[in-house]
């Protein structure tokens, strides 16, 4: 098992594209800022939800969705600062244990979008995968490199979750941004996942 401190530092946009390339009808909930911006830039899909505010809620939104549509897999893409704000949700996810949920953590160690201030977790060398495991999510792993990231995604697409994939990423900002129209984003997502229209 890879630990935080020898996992390779990768690039969020590159890995988001690798994830999206593997998807068919899975739902993806992109967290605040860079997580959803890079999801958008990786090629819009009708099953993507771009969360514009409510920092820290990507994983809870994905949990609710996973309960509503147990036949469809759902990914939450969340930044480390965001997850740090809502760590309790890992215990809730562990309690419900949805088989169709995978949380991907982009750990750049900073609040990139607000000026790259280090997070307290980075300063304290907090290990989010260890937290996820200790919260009751045994299928939690750091991706050592791009190849392992891809194989962890493959495993989450084939197996029974919940899964948690920790990824160390550089502090590059996102390359593009979705249109900021929350109800339109929500409506398009609902049509994309068949709960409307």
């Amino acid at each position: 098992m890879e630990t935080l401190h020898n996992a390779k530092v990768m690039n969020r946009f590159d890995l988001t594209k690798r994830l999206v390339a593997k998807l068919k009808d899975e739902a993806v909930i992109g967290g605040i800022g860079n997580s959803n911006f890079d999801l958008w830039a990786s090629g819009h899909r009708p099953q993507n939800f771009y969360m514009l505010g409510s920092m820290g809620l990507a994983a809870p939104i994905a949990l609710g969705f996973a309960l509503a549509q147990p036949q469809r897999r759902v990914f939450a893409l969340e930044g480390d600062g965001s997850l740090l704000m809502q760590l309790g949700c890992l215990s809730t996810i562990a309690t419900r244990a949805p088989r169709n949920l995978c949380v991907i953590l982009w750990d750049n160690g900073v609040y990139q979008i607000t000026g790259s201030q280090p997070t307290p977790a980075a300063t304290a060398r907090t290990d989010f995968v260890a937290i996820a495991r200790a919260s009751g999510l045994p299928q939690s792993h750091w991706a050592a490199d791009e190849a392992e990231f891809e194989s962890l995604v493959d495993a989450s697409l084939a197996g029974e979750g919940p899964f948690f994939i920790g990824v160390r990423v550089d502090s590059q900002p996102a390359v593009a941004q979705p249109e900021r129209d929350p109800s339109r984003i929500r409506d398009a997502f609902m049509r994309g996942v068949g709960s409307k229209g």
Partner: protein, 175 residues
């Protein structure tokens, strides 16, 4: 409505069931205990506690976007943690995230902190222009709860039901 349902919590449980609100998330409150107990005992519902009220907002919104109706139960102090997520998620994206708040801080409150935070609740709901109703009477509970749910889902708007101590008895200690 069945005879057995004629408690405030019995009426609410039955209205939630009839309105197909299957998902119930909550942060516990002593006054809500009989309601949570009844819901947890009924296999119709998927009910569970969350670590923080904000999380419940996310879960209920995500579930509705996936086609499952939900509600978030909490006390007044929990509501006071929510302005940012309510504004930025259900209000902005037009999601019928329904909340039910057991009202602490009024009509015999013993905890000053509760009394103070209670004063922020309706101003926040009004500032967000959210539909909210305070339920004070057993004979109005069915109508108010059912119509609030119906309107929230029909208009895709978040809403809040406040359960007054006049309805629930509230929580008191001897002075």
């Amino acid at each position: 409505m069945a005879e057995a349902a004629m408690t405030w919590h019995g009426v609410i449980t039955e209205v939630l069931r009839r309105s197909e609100v299957r998902l119930v998330t909550y942060v516990p409150d002593n006054v809500l205990r009989p309601l949570i107990g009844e819901i947890e005992a009924d296999p119709f519902f998927t009910a569970f506690p969350v670590a923080r009220e904000e999380e419940g907002v996310g879960i209920v919104c995500g579930a509705w976007m996936g086609g499952l109706r939900g509600i978030l139960l909490m006390q007044t102090s929990g509501f006071a943690t929510l302005a940012n997520v309510i504004a930025s998620l259900p209000c902005a994206a037009q999601i019928p995230m329904v909340m039910m708040v057991s009202e602490r801080g009024t009509l015999g409150e013993f905890n000053l902190g509760q009394a103070l935070v209670c004063r922020t609740m309706r101003p926040v709901l009004d500032a967000l222009a959210m539909e909210h109703h305070t339920v004070t009477r057993l004979d109005e509970t069915e109508f108010t709860v059912e119509r609030t749910l119906r309107q929230a889902f029909a208009t895709q708007a978040p809403a809040c039901l406040i359960l007054s101590p006049l309805l629930t008895g509230g929580k008191t200690v001897k002075a």
